[in-house]
Symmetry: C2
Subunit: 435 residues, 2 copies
Amino acid sequence: MVGLDHTHDAPARSWVPGADGHPDFPIQNLPLGVFSMEDGAKRAGIAIGDRILDLPATRAAGLLSGEAARAVAAAEGGALNGLLALGAGPRRSLREQVFGLLRADGPHRDRASPLLHEASSCTLHLPAAIGDYTDFFVGIHHATNTGRQFRPDQPLLPNYKHVPVGYHGRASSIRPSGLPVRRPHGQAKPPHLDAPVFGPSRRLDYELELGVWIGPGNALGEPVPIAEAAAQVAGFCLLNDWSARDIQGWEYQPLGPFLAKSFSTTISPWIVTPEALAPFRAPQAPRPEGDPAPLPYLFDAADQAGGALDLELEVLLSTPASREAGLAPHRVARSNARHMYWTVAQMVAHHTSGGCNLRPGDLLGTGTLSGPEPDSYGSLLETTQGGKQPIRLATGEERRFLEDGDEVILTARGVREGFAPIGFGACRATVLAAR
Amino acid sequence: MVGLDHTHDAPARSWVPGADGHPDFPIQNLPLGVFSMEDGAKRAGIAIGDRILDLPATRAAGLLSGEAARAVAAAEGGALNGLLALGAGPRRSLREQVFGLLRADGPHRDRASPLLHEASSCTLHLPAAIGDYTDFFVGIHHATNTGRQFRPDQPLLPNYKHVPVGYHGRASSIRPSGLPVRRPHGQAKPPHLDAPVFGPSRRLDYELELGVWIGPGNALGEPVPIAEAAAQVAGFCLLNDWSARDIQGWEYQPLGPFLAKSFSTTISPWIVTPEALAPFRAPQAPRPEGDPAPLPYLFDAADQAGGALDLELEVLLSTPASREAGLAPHRVARSNARHMYWTVAQMVAHHTSGGCNLRPGDLLGTGTLSGPEPDSYGSLLETTQGGKQPIRLATGEERRFLEDGDEVILTARGVREGFAPIGFGACRATVLAAR
């Protein structure tokens, strides 16, 4: 596997209490984020177990040097854009030095201990100022399932296997995990009415996606070749592309989704780096017999050989009644990030192929990552077949779409024999009633 | 008319040479922008004739006070976002005080003269950092003309007269007038081929639009009522939504335009304020008999009575051969901003109706503002009927779509008896050959 080093050693241990065996943030992960404490000042941090390492304070204490110190300096001001812009070199140095600082035999435990804060007493923020947000549609099962509802005889449109289809999304309404999402009002035209009505959405849904953070970016008019596209990726997060299906169905022709999506998008606040994900790379699944080969600007042998991500994904749902009853959240779906018809590098190469410029801190969404089976569908639109087949919860409740008070939790996890499992941390939000 | 005061007096004169009778920037306009000189430092300015008033220097000289001084202070750093965020009060104070400073009998001519710079020796920049860019589709003739090419029997989709249709655009590739636009590569599938090809666009087009600058903005989850929507608008510009029709035709289903638009958008750099445009307000044209009434969240009597804009619009085209021959640019189209089926306030109210937050400095596009007749069509897609009916230029050349070296110039102008005409300044760019 490409990019493996001592920071991926499964036996590595940390002196930070609770870090070893932590489901998300053992010492092999070390994701980047932005947090604040009581004074409200935003600063860069790295998650380790249930704690957060204060990076500016670590640098100020003289515990980071060279490229790693430069990376932290670039993140001054409470947003990581400047750090992401530096690309892989400084990001790797930072990982290596923090790994050295936090490992069980690290020589500076006494000096580093005071720089750790309980995550539960911190507020996590968006890790970067998001200039532009683009959402793709690379989950082929999702594209097929949703297409079938509109076009039973032609679920996939003719361009799907040639073009990594995507569209511009709304950057201003992206929020970090934990903040609630309010049910939107909007126009919809139910089939039994002749004219549209305006009111709270009745078909509120989630979408299970990965987010992709852009690093250095490219100048306007200068496409990123596919062989260089992976170097543009600074990390990953979970992304819930909340969708109001009734608004979407009425508004989306001919220019695509707009208010059905722009009321809120929730992401997990930690940037899981390409370095941390190196053990979980996989070959891109071969295209089924008869599918067209990617056009040359979208084909790179190394990308095909190792550009996919083997990450276990889940959608969990808790309702007011299930919380009242003390029940664990219900697992609605279990999927995998390998269900992408296009790789992330292909998304980046395509996005820039006409000259469009990406900037550090831009965010891409993959589109919903459904698997082939109903228990792997990443949206209720698919799972309940547009509301026709409700799911039944342990409380005896049914759900066709989301109800007020429901909490949706997305998770992602890398698991591979011989490596320490890592996770993304939760991407969760509770639905508030419409105003 | 609402909002008229002494700054709109037609007889008002300025001591600035060339300002009186200037086609765009007489003393009645006073648009806001950001410029730099040799040292490269960006600063806020106001256009007057062929000159630019340096606003921070004017404030530093003690020539602005109170709210006007506060407005200029908010624009420190070379972007007007902070000024736009303040809303109408400080913006009006600034207009009034600069009007008093530059009018023929202004008492501080000696002190103000050194604060003016020749526009020709300045560089104009984007006036604000654009957080999100949304493009609407409110030109009903354009929607009809383009729809007819795809659906002769149903040019307008069923939602058009109920929903101010819009989509998210790309913010990173918006550039000010004067910078060239490079012909993009992209995927297209010509009708005679079975599979798509990748190469330079062969159907490059412009779109004649107005841009709308957002002022104070709204919090996520808090819609802007239609009666308060006009107060969200901080000003207007011209906008050329460059479009690659061959890429668009192949990529846009089902999620809308993406790379066909994101390679470049050109805007005029001056923000023409709602105050300057007060004389050019007009009633919204009554809806044709049989059209549905707007839903209540989109209806406001005052908006219907005076929310439209009576602005003359033009598209001019110059080619390398026409410049060689010393010919003036060819006028391809003449239209008017009144050809909007929805008002700007309706666009704002709709955009926020589901809770989506607008931020100061966000940009909205109106969509192409074609008129009903072929000589008023705002895109070549319409004018040449998708390339089937070329236009003939004075040089004897034909154009179906844009060729390398062509320069497209958009203009907008308010003309009304009893008032000084004002203009937006040019929105121009030349097409560079594909790389």
